[in-house]
Amino acid sequence: MVTVTRERALKEAKKAEKAIKAGKYLGPLHGIPYGGKDLLATKGIPASWGAAPFKDQVFDHDATVVKKLGKAGSVLGAKLAMIELAGGMGYRQPNASFTGPCSTPWSLGHWAGGSSSGSGSAVAAGLVPFTIGSETWGSILSPAGNCGVAGLRPTYGRVSRHGAMALSWTLDKLGPLCLTADDCGLVLEAMAGYDKKDQTTTRKLYKYEAETREFRFGVLKGTTNNAQEAVTENFNESLKELENIGTVEEMEYPEYPYEAITRAILNAEAASAFDEFTEAGTARGLTAPEDHYGPYARTIILAKDYLKALRLRAVMAKKADKAMEPYDAIVAPGRTRVAPPIDMEFRKISSGTSKDIMGAIGNGAGLPSISVPNGFNEEGLPTSIQFMGRAYDENLIISAAVAYQGGTQWHTKHPKAFTP
């Protein structure tokens, strides 16, 4: 945690208690505490963006998502640790936040994932029942996987980004991290909706409704090629479980430079979003040494290359949607690796380049995905499975994850050190 919002929490809790006693119950989130990633604006409370140069930054307004959760009666209990600037400077190690590296509650010597580190860790430790994280590329699914909790990346535009730090305005999404997939649906319903302060929000209404059906699962061909042994074993076990609730068949996306497209968009938009920051040399004040020089290389991306990536993205979105049409969800490991040691550089752990096609397509095309725990490795570190759906199909993928969790017990396991 970066800031415990004690005064605000007590005020909101008393208000909720009074309303509930008076019979004015607002729904399942009424009176429920939560934590928000520290890139959300919260009136009068610091929003550090995880970065030392911004640690005293205070906004005079609440982010739309904070307002919406307030209207649902939720109680903001804390602002949560995150990788500095949502990892946008290219960090290569867990120690890339002014609050230090964030541990997974499953092993304090291992990393919580990022960039929504505290959002995953706080739920797994039982500090709050749900949190809000953000994802530009992997920042919800990574901590969900490393911390063994459910994490939902909604469709781009489902949730207003107003009041959240912008890293890449056409890739950034806000989503919940919870103990179960079912909880993710409940929280998303409270967060979602059109917001005139974020022109990219959809006017499509979202109401969480879990459905029972026989699901059609597609398994991305070669999805475990670069995965650790335990990740592969647990994923294969999960596929057997999925056969109890639907059909499972291998699928492929057509060849296309998915990663290059999404990476180019992220780099160009981040270069612009942090232009003044970069020009002023403020990166020198960041924690991770690699973040000191991280923002400079991308300042040379040509406008025509960014625009080409945006044009290719439109083709990519259509190709991906067509490939996914026969399925309710594409499944893959949430992460190909378990939480790494907290003091180790990422490149020392994985050899070679591990492709992240699911992440590139999912984030580049703005598709929803939910990650839930699906086992442990021999060290007791959680592994995960993700269900990625077509645009606006949150209910389908959540329903599939709920059905999966109905037949498994992984979500009922909690770290011993944090279990009463």
Binding site: G90, K196, Q199, T200, Y256, P257, A260, I261, R263, A264, N267, G281, R284, E290, H292, Y293, G294, Y296, A297, R298, T299, I300, I301, L302, D305, L307, K308, A309, L310, R311, L312, R313, A314, V315, A317
Partner: protein
């Protein structure tokens, strides 16, 4: 790859000229690798053919304050 190298070198010189005073020699070496990766990725994108009418998904809308 020669084109890629030439372009990366040229663009790196621009970064060096503009931000060199903010970075150490070691950091500049890392920036150089970063520029090379970006140029390689750009080359990959440039190889893909698009039709003249293939446009990005656009959200721009003309603005009038009294019509919000």
């Amino acid at each position: 790859m020669k084109d890629s190298n030439t372009e990366a070198e040229t663009l790196f010189k621009l970064v060096e000229q503009k931000y060199g005073d903010k970075l150490t020699e070691e950091e500049l070496e890392e920036v150089k690798k970063g520029v090379e990766r970006i140029v390689e990725a750009s080359m990959e994108l440039r190889k893909v053919k698009l039709e003249n009418g293939d446009e990005p998904f656009s959200i721009f809308k003309p603005y009038r304050g009294d019509e919000e």
